[in-house]
Amino acid sequence: MYTQGLDQKDKSAPKRDAMEAPEQLEAFQARIDGEEKIEAKDWMPEAYRRTLIRQISQHAHSEIIGMQPEGNWLTRAPTLKRKAILLAKIQDEAGHGLYLYSAGETLGVSRDQMVADLLSGKAKYSSIFNYPTLTWADIGAIGWLVDGAAIMNQIPLCRCSYGPYSRAMVRICKEESFHQRQGFDILRVLCEGSREQKAMAQDALDRWWWPSLMMFGPSDAESKHSAQSMAWKIKRFSNDELRQKFVDVTVPQADFLGLKVPDDDLEFDKETGHYRFGEIDWQEFIEVIQGNGPCNKQRMAKRRTAHDDGAWVREAAQAYAGKQAAKHAA
Protein backbone atom coordinates (compact mmCIF):
# COMPACT_ATOMS: atom_id res chain seq x y z
CA MET A 1 0.00 0.00 0.00
CA TYR A 2 -0.40 3.11 -0.57
CA THR A 3 0.65 6.13 1.38
CA GLN A 4 3.10 6.76 -1.42
CA GLY A 5 0.39 9.16 -2.66
CA LEU A 6 1.00 11.52 0.22
CA ASP A 7 4.27 12.55 -1.24
CA GLN A 8 2.81 13.91 -4.44
CA LYS A 9 2.25 17.61 -4.71
CA ASP A 10 -1.25 19.05 -4.71
CA LYS A 11 -0.67 21.87 -7.19
CA SER A 12 -4.12 23.43 -6.94
CA ALA A 13 -4.23 23.65 -3.15
CA PRO A 14 -2.71 27.08 -2.42
CA LYS A 15 -5.34 28.96 -4.46
CA ARG A 16 -8.20 27.46 -2.54
CA ASP A 17 -6.40 27.61 0.79
CA ALA A 18 -6.33 31.40 0.47
CA MET A 19 -10.12 31.51 0.63
CA GLU A 20 -10.30 29.70 3.96
CA ALA A 21 -10.55 31.85 7.09
CA PRO A 22 -7.78 31.40 9.69
CA GLU A 23 -10.34 30.89 12.46
CA GLN A 24 -11.99 28.07 10.49
CA LEU A 25 -8.64 26.39 10.04
CA GLU A 26 -7.81 26.79 13.72
CA ALA A 27 -11.12 25.32 14.82
CA PHE A 28 -10.58 22.40 12.45
CA GLN A 29 -7.09 21.78 13.79
CA ALA A 30 -8.43 21.92 17.35
CA ARG A 31 -10.88 19.15 16.52
CA ILE A 32 -8.05 17.09 15.05
CA ASP A 33 -5.86 17.72 18.07
CA GLY A 34 -8.71 16.67 20.31
CA GLU A 35 -8.80 13.33 18.43
CA GLU A 36 -12.30 14.02 17.11
CA LYS A 37 -13.28 12.20 13.93
CA ILE A 38 -14.03 14.37 10.93
CA GLU A 39 -17.17 13.19 9.16
CA ALA A 40 -18.28 13.59 5.56
CA LYS A 41 -20.61 16.54 6.13
CA ASP A 42 -18.25 18.44 8.43
CA TRP A 43 -16.38 21.48 7.22
CA MET A 44 -12.81 20.66 6.24
CA PRO A 45 -9.97 22.54 4.55
CA GLU A 46 -9.87 21.96 0.82
CA ALA A 47 -6.31 20.66 1.03
CA TYR A 48 -7.34 18.10 3.66
CA ARG A 49 -10.13 16.92 1.37
CA ARG A 50 -7.84 16.77 -1.68
CA THR A 51 -5.16 14.88 0.25
CA LEU A 52 -7.67 12.31 1.41
CA ILE A 53 -9.21 11.88 -2.03
CA ARG A 54 -5.74 11.33 -3.46
CA GLN A 55 -4.78 8.84 -0.78
CA ILE A 56 -8.07 6.93 -0.61
CA SER A 57 -8.44 6.67 -4.38
CA GLN A 58 -4.83 5.57 -4.73
CA HIS A 59 -5.48 2.96 -2.07
CA ALA A 60 -8.63 1.79 -3.91
CA HIS A 61 -6.78 1.64 -7.25
CA SER A 62 -4.01 -0.38 -5.59
CA GLU A 63 -6.54 -2.95 -4.43
CA ILE A 64 -7.96 -3.24 -7.95
CA ILE A 65 -4.66 -3.40 -9.80
CA GLY A 66 -3.31 -5.65 -7.05
CA MET A 67 -5.78 -8.32 -8.14
CA GLN A 68 -3.76 -8.86 -11.31
CA PRO A 69 -0.42 -10.19 -10.05
CA GLU A 70 -2.23 -12.66 -7.82
CA GLY A 71 -4.84 -13.48 -10.43
CA ASN A 72 -1.90 -14.52 -12.59
CA TRP A 73 -1.61 -17.74 -10.51
CA LEU A 74 -5.27 -18.40 -9.91
CA THR A 75 -5.68 -20.76 -12.86
CA ARG A 76 -2.46 -22.55 -11.89
CA ALA A 77 -2.83 -22.78 -8.10
CA PRO A 78 -1.41 -26.15 -7.07
CA THR A 79 -4.34 -27.49 -5.02
CA LEU A 80 -8.06 -26.81 -4.91
CA LYS A 81 -7.74 -25.52 -1.37
CA ARG A 82 -5.02 -23.05 -2.35
CA LYS A 83 -7.06 -22.01 -5.36
CA ALA A 84 -10.11 -21.32 -3.21
CA ILE A 85 -8.06 -19.40 -0.62
CA LEU A 86 -6.40 -17.29 -3.31
CA LEU A 87 -9.71 -16.59 -5.01
CA ALA A 88 -11.27 -15.55 -1.70
CA LYS A 89 -8.30 -13.24 -1.10
CA ILE A 90 -8.62 -11.62 -4.50
CA GLN A 91 -12.33 -11.24 -3.93
CA ASP A 92 -11.55 -9.52 -0.62
CA GLU A 93 -9.37 -7.09 -2.55
CA ALA A 94 -12.16 -6.27 -4.98
CA GLY A 95 -14.33 -5.72 -1.92
CA HIS A 96 -11.72 -3.41 -0.37
CA GLY A 97 -11.63 -1.48 -3.64
CA LEU A 98 -15.39 -1.07 -3.61
CA TYR A 99 -15.36 -0.06 0.05
CA LEU A 100 -12.60 2.48 -0.47
CA TYR A 101 -14.21 4.00 -3.56
CA SER A 102 -17.29 4.51 -1.40
CA ALA A 103 -15.18 6.17 1.29
CA GLY A 104 -13.72 8.39 -1.46
CA GLU A 105 -17.21 9.29 -2.66
CA THR A 106 -18.05 10.72 0.78
CA LEU A 107 -15.54 13.45 -0.09
CA GLY A 108 -17.52 14.53 -3.12
CA VAL A 109 -15.76 12.74 -5.96
CA SER A 110 -17.58 10.08 -7.98
CA ARG A 111 -16.30 6.56 -8.48
CA ASP A 112 -16.49 7.11 -12.25
CA GLN A 113 -14.17 10.09 -11.90
CA MET A 114 -11.71 8.14 -9.73
CA VAL A 115 -11.71 5.25 -12.20
CA ALA A 116 -11.27 7.66 -15.12
CA ASP A 117 -8.25 9.16 -13.35
CA LEU A 118 -6.73 5.71 -12.94
CA LEU A 119 -7.32 4.79 -16.57
CA SER A 120 -5.92 8.07 -17.86
CA GLY A 121 -2.79 7.58 -15.78
CA LYS A 122 -3.48 10.69 -13.70
CA ALA A 123 -4.01 8.71 -10.50
CA LYS A 124 -1.39 6.27 -9.27
CA TYR A 125 -1.45 2.94 -7.50
CA SER A 126 1.16 1.28 -5.33
CA SER A 127 4.45 0.67 -7.13
CA ILE A 128 4.63 -2.89 -5.82
CA PHE A 129 2.01 -4.21 -8.23
CA ASN A 130 4.24 -3.42 -11.18
CA TYR A 131 6.41 -6.41 -10.35
CA PRO A 132 5.65 -9.78 -11.96
CA THR A 133 4.57 -12.99 -10.20
CA LEU A 134 6.85 -15.54 -11.81
CA THR A 135 6.36 -18.61 -9.62
CA TRP A 136 3.82 -19.94 -7.15
CA ALA A 137 6.14 -18.84 -4.32
CA ASP A 138 5.49 -15.23 -5.36
CA ILE A 139 1.91 -15.67 -4.19
CA GLY A 140 3.28 -16.57 -0.78
CA ALA A 141 5.70 -13.64 -0.87
CA ILE A 142 2.94 -11.19 -1.76
CA GLY A 143 0.85 -12.35 1.18
CA TRP A 144 3.73 -12.36 3.61
CA LEU A 145 5.68 -9.27 2.54
CA VAL A 146 3.32 -7.06 0.55
CA ASP A 147 0.31 -7.57 2.78
CA GLY A 148 2.67 -7.44 5.76
CA ALA A 149 3.95 -4.04 4.68
CA ALA A 150 0.40 -2.92 3.93
CA ILE A 151 -0.67 -3.85 7.46
CA MET A 152 2.18 -1.80 8.95
CA ASN A 153 0.89 1.17 7.00
CA GLN A 154 -2.77 0.55 7.54
CA ILE A 155 -3.03 -0.20 11.24
CA PRO A 156 -2.25 3.44 12.09
CA LEU A 157 -4.83 4.45 9.46
CA CYS A 158 -7.52 2.84 11.61
CA ARG A 159 -6.98 5.91 13.82
CA CYS A 160 -6.94 8.32 10.88
CA SER A 161 -8.80 11.58 11.59
CA TYR A 162 -11.27 11.07 8.73
CA GLY A 163 -14.08 8.85 10.06
CA PRO A 164 -15.20 6.99 6.91
CA TYR A 165 -11.59 6.11 6.00
CA SER A 166 -10.63 5.03 9.50
CA ARG A 167 -13.69 2.79 9.77
CA ALA A 168 -13.01 1.23 6.37
CA MET A 169 -9.47 0.48 7.51
CA VAL A 170 -10.60 -1.42 10.61
CA ARG A 171 -12.34 -4.01 8.48
CA ILE A 172 -9.66 -4.06 5.81
CA CYS A 173 -6.90 -4.62 8.37
CA LYS A 174 -8.64 -7.68 9.78
CA GLU A 175 -8.77 -9.25 6.34
CA GLU A 176 -5.21 -8.25 5.51
CA SER A 177 -3.84 -10.01 8.60
CA PHE A 178 -5.60 -13.13 7.49
CA HIS A 179 -4.06 -12.79 4.02
CA GLN A 180 -0.63 -12.33 5.50
CA ARG A 181 -0.87 -15.53 7.49
CA GLN A 182 -2.01 -17.39 4.39
CA GLY A 183 0.96 -16.06 2.42
CA PHE A 184 3.36 -17.07 5.15
CA ASP A 185 1.80 -20.51 5.20
CA ILE A 186 2.40 -20.95 1.46
CA LEU A 187 6.09 -20.20 2.01
CA ARG A 188 6.32 -22.36 5.12
CA VAL A 189 5.08 -25.37 3.18
CA LEU A 190 7.51 -24.64 0.33
CA CYS A 191 10.41 -24.26 2.76
CA GLU A 192 9.56 -27.60 4.34
CA GLY A 193 9.27 -29.18 0.91
CA SER A 194 11.73 -30.29 -1.76
CA ARG A 195 14.99 -28.55 -2.63
CA GLU A 196 13.32 -27.08 -5.70
CA GLN A 197 10.44 -25.72 -3.67
CA LYS A 198 12.75 -24.10 -1.16
CA ALA A 199 14.74 -22.53 -3.99
CA MET A 200 11.45 -21.18 -5.34
CA ALA A 201 10.74 -19.56 -1.96
CA GLN A 202 14.23 -18.04 -1.72
CA ASP A 203 13.98 -16.68 -5.25
CA ALA A 204 10.65 -15.05 -4.39
CA LEU A 205 12.13 -13.39 -1.29
CA ASP A 206 15.11 -12.21 -3.35
CA ARG A 207 12.83 -10.49 -5.82
CA TRP A 208 10.15 -9.12 -3.43
CA TRP A 209 12.22 -7.93 -0.48
CA TRP A 210 13.44 -4.59 -1.79
CA PRO A 211 10.24 -3.63 -3.62
CA SER A 212 8.38 -4.34 -0.35
CA LEU A 213 10.63 -1.90 1.51
CA MET A 214 9.90 0.68 -1.19
CA MET A 215 6.18 0.40 -0.44
CA PHE A 216 6.67 2.71 2.54
CA GLY A 217 7.56 5.54 0.18
CA PRO A 218 10.59 7.84 0.05
CA SER A 219 12.84 8.31 3.08
CA ASP A 220 11.76 10.96 5.59
CA ALA A 221 14.40 13.35 4.31
CA GLU A 222 12.86 13.20 0.83
CA SER A 223 9.22 13.08 1.90
CA LYS A 224 8.24 16.72 1.80
CA HIS A 225 4.51 16.43 2.28
CA SER A 226 4.35 14.16 5.26
CA ALA A 227 4.43 16.93 7.88
CA GLN A 228 1.01 18.32 6.98
CA SER A 229 -0.51 14.83 6.88
CA MET A 230 0.97 14.12 10.30
CA ALA A 231 -0.50 17.37 11.67
CA TRP A 232 -3.89 16.38 10.26
CA LYS A 233 -3.51 12.92 11.76
CA ILE A 234 -4.06 11.28 8.41
CA LYS A 235 -0.64 9.86 8.89
CA ARG A 236 0.64 8.84 12.33
CA PHE A 237 4.14 7.55 11.69
CA SER A 238 6.82 8.55 9.20
CA ASN A 239 7.80 6.39 6.23
CA ASP A 240 11.13 5.46 7.79
CA GLU A 241 9.58 4.58 11.14
CA LEU A 242 7.13 2.21 9.50
CA ARG A 243 9.80 0.71 7.26
CA GLN A 244 12.01 0.03 10.28
CA LYS A 245 9.13 -1.60 12.12
CA PHE A 246 8.48 -3.82 9.11
CA VAL A 247 12.12 -4.91 8.87
CA ASP A 248 12.26 -5.61 12.61
CA VAL A 249 9.18 -7.82 12.45
CA THR A 250 9.94 -9.56 9.17
CA VAL A 251 13.60 -10.56 9.47
CA PRO A 252 12.97 -13.05 12.32
CA GLN A 253 10.16 -14.54 10.24
CA ALA A 254 12.57 -15.08 7.35
CA ASP A 255 14.95 -16.76 9.81
CA PHE A 256 12.13 -19.01 10.95
CA LEU A 257 11.53 -20.05 7.36
CA GLY A 258 15.25 -20.65 6.85
CA LEU A 259 15.41 -18.03 4.10
CA LYS A 260 18.11 -15.42 3.63
CA VAL A 261 17.09 -11.77 3.33
CA PRO A 262 18.95 -10.45 0.25
CA ASP A 263 20.82 -7.66 2.06
CA ASP A 264 24.50 -8.07 2.98
CA ASP A 265 24.31 -5.02 5.23
CA LEU A 266 21.50 -6.41 7.34
CA GLU A 267 22.61 -6.56 10.96
CA PHE A 268 20.90 -6.55 14.36
CA ASP A 269 21.94 -3.57 16.43
CA LYS A 270 21.87 -4.65 20.08
CA GLU A 271 22.03 -1.10 21.35
CA THR A 272 18.97 0.18 19.52
CA GLY A 273 17.16 -3.14 19.34
CA HIS A 274 16.58 -2.59 15.62
CA TYR A 275 17.94 -4.11 12.45
CA ARG A 276 20.23 -1.94 10.38
CA PHE A 277 19.71 -2.49 6.70
CA GLY A 278 21.26 -1.49 3.40
CA GLU A 279 20.43 1.44 1.15
CA ILE A 280 17.33 1.10 -1.01
CA ASP A 281 17.82 1.56 -4.75
CA TRP A 282 15.77 4.74 -5.02
CA GLN A 283 16.49 5.01 -8.72
CA GLU A 284 14.53 1.79 -9.24
CA PHE A 285 11.69 3.18 -7.12
CA ILE A 286 11.55 6.35 -9.21
CA GLU A 287 11.60 4.39 -12.45
CA VAL A 288 8.71 2.19 -11.35
CA ILE A 289 6.67 5.19 -10.13
CA GLN A 290 7.32 6.86 -13.49
CA GLY A 291 5.90 3.93 -15.39
CA ASN A 292 9.03 1.97 -16.21
CA GLY A 293 8.56 -1.00 -13.90
CA PRO A 294 8.41 -4.50 -15.35
CA CYS A 295 4.58 -4.59 -15.52
CA ASN A 296 3.26 -1.00 -15.51
CA LYS A 297 2.14 -1.12 -19.12
CA GLN A 298 0.71 -4.62 -18.84
CA ARG A 299 -1.31 -3.81 -15.69
CA MET A 300 -2.82 -0.67 -17.16
CA ALA A 301 -3.49 -2.32 -20.52
CA LYS A 302 -5.41 -5.11 -18.83
CA ARG A 303 -7.46 -2.69 -16.73
CA ARG A 304 -8.25 -0.50 -19.74
CA THR A 305 -9.21 -3.53 -21.84
CA ALA A 306 -11.54 -4.80 -19.09
CA HIS A 307 -13.09 -1.36 -18.85
CA ASP A 308 -13.46 -0.90 -22.61
CA ASP A 309 -14.74 -4.44 -23.18
CA GLY A 310 -17.36 -3.80 -20.55
CA ALA A 311 -18.69 -0.60 -22.14
CA TRP A 312 -21.46 -2.35 -24.09
CA VAL A 313 -22.52 -4.19 -20.93
CA ARG A 314 -22.77 -1.00 -18.90
CA GLU A 315 -24.67 0.67 -21.73
CA ALA A 316 -27.07 -2.28 -21.90
CA ALA A 317 -27.71 -2.14 -18.16
CA GLN A 318 -28.41 1.56 -18.38
CA ALA A 319 -30.69 1.20 -21.41
CA TYR A 320 -32.60 -1.58 -19.69
CA ALA A 321 -32.99 0.47 -16.51
CA GLY A 322 -34.27 3.36 -18.64
CA LYS A 323 -36.85 1.13 -20.33
CA GLN A 324 -38.02 -0.24 -16.99
CA ALA A 325 -38.33 3.24 -15.50
CA ALA A 326 -40.37 4.35 -18.53
CA LYS A 327 -42.63 1.31 -18.16
CA HIS A 328 -43.27 2.02 -14.49
CA ALA A 329 -43.91 5.67 -15.17
CA ALA A 330 -46.47 4.83 -17.86
Partner: protein, 252 residues
Amino acid sequence: MNKDKALLAYTLRLGDNALVLGQRMVELVAAYPELEEELANANFALDYLGQARMFYTYAGELEGKGRGEDDFAFLRDENEYRNFLLLEQPNGHFGDSIAKLVLYESFYLLQLEALVNCADTRIAEIAARAQKEIRYHLRHNSQWLIRLGDGTDESHSKAQGSVDDLWRYTGELFAPDEVDNVFEAEFDGPDLFKIQDEWRSNVAAVLEEATLTKPEDGFMASGGKEGRHTEYFGYMIAEMQYLQRAYPGAEW
Protein backbone atom coordinates in the same frame (compact mmCIF):
# COMPACT_ATOMS: atom_id res chain seq x y z
CA MET B 1 -23.08 -51.34 -14.42
CA ASN B 2 -23.55 -52.05 -10.74
CA LYS B 3 -24.91 -49.66 -8.17
CA ASP B 4 -21.59 -48.74 -6.56
CA LYS B 5 -19.89 -47.99 -9.86
CA ALA B 6 -22.76 -45.80 -10.98
CA LEU B 7 -22.71 -43.85 -7.71
CA LEU B 8 -18.97 -43.20 -8.02
CA ALA B 9 -19.23 -42.20 -11.68
CA TYR B 10 -22.19 -39.94 -10.98
CA THR B 11 -20.41 -38.24 -8.07
CA LEU B 12 -17.29 -37.67 -10.14
CA ARG B 13 -19.33 -36.10 -12.93
CA LEU B 14 -20.86 -33.68 -10.49
CA GLY B 15 -17.37 -32.80 -9.29
CA ASP B 16 -16.04 -32.43 -12.84
CA ASN B 17 -18.88 -30.15 -13.89
CA ALA B 18 -18.36 -27.92 -10.87
CA LEU B 19 -14.59 -27.74 -11.26
CA VAL B 20 -14.51 -27.14 -15.01
CA LEU B 21 -17.05 -24.34 -14.82
CA GLY B 22 -15.34 -22.89 -11.74
CA GLN B 23 -11.98 -22.91 -13.51
CA ARG B 24 -13.44 -21.08 -16.52
CA MET B 25 -14.88 -18.46 -14.18
CA VAL B 26 -11.55 -18.11 -12.41
CA GLU B 27 -9.98 -17.21 -15.77
CA LEU B 28 -12.17 -14.10 -15.78
CA VAL B 29 -10.95 -12.68 -12.49
CA ALA B 30 -9.75 -9.07 -12.81
CA ALA B 31 -11.38 -8.73 -16.23
CA TYR B 32 -15.01 -7.99 -15.41
CA PRO B 33 -16.89 -4.92 -16.68
CA GLU B 34 -17.92 -3.68 -13.23
CA LEU B 35 -16.48 -4.12 -9.77
CA GLU B 36 -19.78 -5.44 -8.45
CA GLU B 37 -19.76 -8.14 -11.14
CA GLU B 38 -16.13 -8.91 -10.34
CA LEU B 39 -17.25 -9.70 -6.79
CA ALA B 40 -20.22 -11.75 -7.99
CA ASN B 41 -18.09 -13.79 -10.39
CA ALA B 42 -15.51 -14.55 -7.70
CA ASN B 43 -18.25 -15.45 -5.27
CA PHE B 44 -19.93 -17.81 -7.72
CA ALA B 45 -16.63 -19.39 -8.75
CA LEU B 46 -15.89 -20.02 -5.06
CA ASP B 47 -19.21 -21.81 -4.75
CA TYR B 48 -18.31 -24.08 -7.66
CA LEU B 49 -14.84 -24.81 -6.29
CA GLY B 50 -16.40 -25.65 -2.94
CA GLN B 51 -18.90 -27.98 -4.57
CA ALA B 52 -16.18 -29.67 -6.62
CA ARG B 53 -14.16 -30.29 -3.47
CA MET B 54 -17.12 -31.85 -1.66
CA PHE B 55 -18.03 -34.12 -4.58
CA TYR B 56 -14.41 -35.20 -5.15
CA THR B 57 -13.80 -35.88 -1.49
CA TYR B 58 -16.86 -38.09 -1.43
CA ALA B 59 -15.80 -39.79 -4.69
CA GLY B 60 -12.45 -40.59 -3.06
CA GLU B 61 -14.19 -42.20 -0.12
CA LEU B 62 -16.48 -44.20 -2.39
CA GLU B 63 -13.57 -45.40 -4.48
CA GLY B 64 -11.56 -46.39 -1.40
CA LYS B 65 -8.16 -46.22 -3.08
CA GLY B 66 -6.82 -43.28 -1.11
CA ARG B 67 -7.44 -40.66 -3.79
CA GLY B 68 -8.49 -37.19 -2.62
CA GLU B 69 -9.85 -34.04 -4.22
CA ASP B 70 -6.51 -32.98 -5.69
CA ASP B 71 -5.82 -36.40 -7.22
CA PHE B 72 -9.05 -36.12 -9.16
CA ALA B 73 -8.52 -32.50 -10.13
CA PHE B 74 -4.84 -32.49 -11.00
CA LEU B 75 -3.75 -36.01 -11.83
CA ARG B 76 -6.36 -37.25 -14.25
CA ASP B 77 -5.99 -36.92 -17.99
CA GLU B 78 -8.32 -35.09 -20.29
CA ASN B 79 -10.29 -38.21 -21.27
CA GLU B 80 -10.92 -39.14 -17.64
CA TYR B 81 -12.94 -35.96 -17.11
CA ARG B 82 -16.69 -36.39 -17.57
CA ASN B 83 -17.98 -32.83 -17.59
CA PHE B 84 -20.47 -31.44 -20.11
CA LEU B 85 -18.93 -29.88 -23.22
CA LEU B 86 -20.93 -26.71 -22.56
CA LEU B 87 -18.88 -25.95 -19.46
CA GLU B 88 -15.44 -26.20 -21.04
CA GLN B 89 -16.22 -23.76 -23.87
CA PRO B 90 -13.96 -20.70 -23.81
CA ASN B 91 -15.27 -17.66 -22.01
CA GLY B 92 -15.73 -15.32 -24.95
CA HIS B 93 -17.37 -12.01 -23.99
CA PHE B 94 -19.57 -11.20 -21.00
CA GLY B 95 -22.71 -12.22 -22.89
CA ASP B 96 -21.22 -15.65 -23.64
CA SER B 97 -20.44 -16.19 -19.96
CA ILE B 98 -23.91 -15.13 -18.88
CA ALA B 99 -25.68 -17.22 -21.54
CA LYS B 100 -23.60 -20.26 -20.62
CA LEU B 101 -24.44 -19.82 -16.94
CA VAL B 102 -28.15 -19.33 -17.51
CA LEU B 103 -28.41 -22.36 -19.80
CA TYR B 104 -26.42 -24.56 -17.44
CA GLU B 105 -27.69 -23.36 -14.10
CA SER B 106 -31.30 -23.68 -15.28
CA PHE B 107 -30.45 -27.37 -15.62
CA TYR B 108 -28.17 -27.72 -12.61
CA LEU B 109 -30.65 -26.21 -10.19
CA LEU B 110 -33.31 -28.73 -11.25
CA GLN B 111 -30.75 -31.52 -10.98
CA LEU B 112 -29.80 -30.45 -7.47
CA GLU B 113 -33.41 -30.07 -6.39
CA ALA B 114 -33.99 -33.65 -7.47
CA LEU B 115 -30.80 -34.86 -5.79
CA VAL B 116 -31.88 -33.41 -2.46
CA ASN B 117 -34.41 -36.25 -2.37
CA CYS B 118 -32.17 -39.02 -3.70
CA ALA B 119 -31.38 -42.12 -1.69
CA ASP B 120 -27.70 -41.38 -1.16
CA THR B 121 -27.44 -39.29 2.00
CA ARG B 122 -24.12 -37.63 1.22
CA ILE B 123 -25.13 -36.53 -2.28
CA ALA B 124 -28.42 -35.29 -0.87
CA GLU B 125 -26.61 -33.23 1.78
CA ILE B 126 -24.21 -31.64 -0.69
CA ALA B 127 -27.10 -30.94 -3.08
CA ALA B 128 -29.10 -29.31 -0.30
CA ARG B 129 -26.30 -26.85 0.28
CA ALA B 130 -25.46 -26.32 -3.38
CA GLN B 131 -29.04 -25.67 -4.48
CA LYS B 132 -29.19 -22.57 -2.29
CA GLU B 133 -26.07 -21.22 -3.95
CA ILE B 134 -27.16 -22.04 -7.49
CA ARG B 135 -30.66 -20.63 -6.97
CA TYR B 136 -29.08 -17.30 -6.19
CA HIS B 137 -26.61 -17.52 -9.11
CA LEU B 138 -29.40 -18.29 -11.53
CA ARG B 139 -31.48 -15.36 -10.40
CA HIS B 140 -28.52 -13.01 -10.74
CA ASN B 141 -27.41 -14.37 -14.11
CA SER B 142 -30.94 -14.48 -15.56
CA GLN B 143 -31.35 -10.82 -14.66
CA TRP B 144 -28.19 -10.09 -16.60
CA LEU B 145 -29.36 -12.03 -19.64
CA ILE B 146 -32.60 -10.05 -19.53
CA ARG B 147 -30.70 -6.75 -19.30
CA LEU B 148 -28.46 -7.70 -22.20
CA GLY B 149 -31.29 -9.00 -24.36
CA ASP B 150 -33.56 -6.05 -23.65
CA GLY B 151 -30.77 -3.45 -23.42
CA THR B 152 -29.27 -1.88 -26.54
CA ASP B 153 -29.31 -3.19 -30.13
CA GLU B 154 -25.70 -4.18 -29.71
CA SER B 155 -26.24 -6.07 -26.47
CA HIS B 156 -29.34 -7.75 -27.88
CA SER B 157 -27.49 -9.00 -30.91
CA LYS B 158 -24.51 -10.14 -28.84
CA ALA B 159 -26.71 -11.99 -26.35
CA GLN B 160 -28.70 -13.64 -29.14
CA GLY B 161 -25.43 -14.75 -30.74
CA SER B 162 -24.26 -16.24 -27.45
CA VAL B 163 -27.46 -18.21 -26.93
CA ASP B 164 -27.42 -19.40 -30.55
CA ASP B 165 -23.79 -20.53 -30.36
CA LEU B 166 -24.15 -22.39 -27.08
CA TRP B 167 -27.51 -24.01 -27.77
CA ARG B 168 -25.90 -26.98 -29.51
CA TYR B 169 -24.23 -27.98 -26.23
CA THR B 170 -27.49 -28.17 -24.26
CA GLY B 171 -28.68 -31.50 -25.69
CA GLU B 172 -26.01 -33.36 -23.74
CA LEU B 173 -27.47 -32.18 -20.44
CA PHE B 174 -30.57 -34.29 -20.98
CA ALA B 175 -29.27 -37.35 -22.82
CA PRO B 176 -29.25 -40.13 -20.22
CA ASP B 177 -26.59 -42.81 -20.39
CA GLU B 178 -26.04 -45.91 -18.30
CA VAL B 179 -24.71 -43.97 -15.32
CA ASP B 180 -27.75 -41.70 -15.26
CA ASN B 181 -30.14 -44.62 -15.68
CA VAL B 182 -28.62 -46.76 -12.95
CA PHE B 183 -28.38 -43.78 -10.62
CA GLU B 184 -32.01 -42.90 -11.25
CA ALA B 185 -33.21 -46.48 -10.75
CA GLU B 186 -31.06 -47.38 -7.74
CA PHE B 187 -30.84 -44.08 -5.90
CA ASP B 188 -34.04 -42.39 -6.91
CA GLY B 189 -31.97 -39.95 -8.97
CA PRO B 190 -33.17 -37.20 -11.30
CA ASP B 191 -35.47 -38.02 -14.18
CA LEU B 192 -33.76 -36.21 -17.04
CA PHE B 193 -36.83 -36.19 -19.28
CA LYS B 194 -38.85 -34.49 -16.62
CA ILE B 195 -36.04 -32.02 -15.97
CA GLN B 196 -35.80 -31.30 -19.67
CA ASP B 197 -39.46 -30.26 -19.84
CA GLU B 198 -39.09 -27.90 -16.90
CA TRP B 199 -35.83 -26.56 -18.26
CA ARG B 200 -37.46 -25.79 -21.60
CA SER B 201 -40.24 -23.81 -20.05
CA ASN B 202 -37.98 -21.98 -17.56
CA VAL B 203 -35.41 -21.06 -20.21
CA ALA B 204 -38.16 -20.02 -22.63
CA ALA B 205 -39.57 -17.66 -20.00
CA VAL B 206 -36.19 -15.99 -19.42
CA LEU B 207 -35.51 -15.70 -23.15
CA GLU B 208 -38.92 -14.18 -23.69
CA GLU B 209 -38.40 -11.58 -21.01
CA ALA B 210 -34.98 -10.90 -22.54
CA THR B 211 -36.71 -10.42 -25.92
CA LEU B 212 -34.46 -13.15 -27.32
CA THR B 213 -35.48 -15.88 -29.72
CA LYS B 214 -35.21 -19.47 -28.60
CA PRO B 215 -32.96 -21.27 -31.10
CA GLU B 216 -34.26 -24.29 -32.99
CA ASP B 217 -33.13 -27.66 -31.65
CA GLY B 218 -30.75 -28.69 -34.41
CA PHE B 219 -27.64 -30.82 -34.15
CA MET B 220 -26.55 -31.36 -30.57
CA ALA B 221 -22.89 -31.90 -29.73
CA SER B 222 -22.04 -34.53 -27.14
CA GLY B 223 -19.11 -36.52 -25.81
CA GLY B 224 -18.18 -34.84 -22.55
CA LYS B 225 -19.90 -37.48 -20.47
CA GLU B 226 -17.81 -40.16 -22.20
CA GLY B 227 -14.56 -38.22 -21.91
CA ARG B 228 -14.43 -36.98 -25.51
CA HIS B 229 -13.85 -33.28 -25.18
CA THR B 230 -13.45 -30.25 -27.40
CA GLU B 231 -9.92 -29.06 -28.23
CA TYR B 232 -10.21 -26.17 -25.80
CA PHE B 233 -10.31 -28.51 -22.83
CA GLY B 234 -6.76 -29.84 -23.07
CA TYR B 235 -5.28 -26.36 -22.74
CA MET B 236 -7.49 -25.56 -19.81
CA ILE B 237 -6.44 -28.56 -17.75
CA ALA B 238 -2.79 -28.37 -18.85
CA GLU B 239 -2.67 -24.91 -17.30
CA MET B 240 -4.59 -25.99 -14.23
CA GLN B 241 -2.49 -29.10 -13.59
CA TYR B 242 0.90 -27.61 -14.36
CA LEU B 243 2.44 -27.50 -10.88
CA GLN B 244 1.22 -30.92 -9.78
CA ARG B 245 2.51 -32.43 -13.02
CA ALA B 246 5.85 -30.60 -12.96
CA TYR B 247 6.67 -31.55 -9.35
CA PRO B 248 5.20 -35.02 -8.78
CA GLY B 249 4.54 -35.87 -5.15
CA ALA B 250 5.23 -32.38 -3.81
CA GLU B 251 3.13 -30.91 -1.02
CA TRP B 252 1.75 -27.42 -1.51
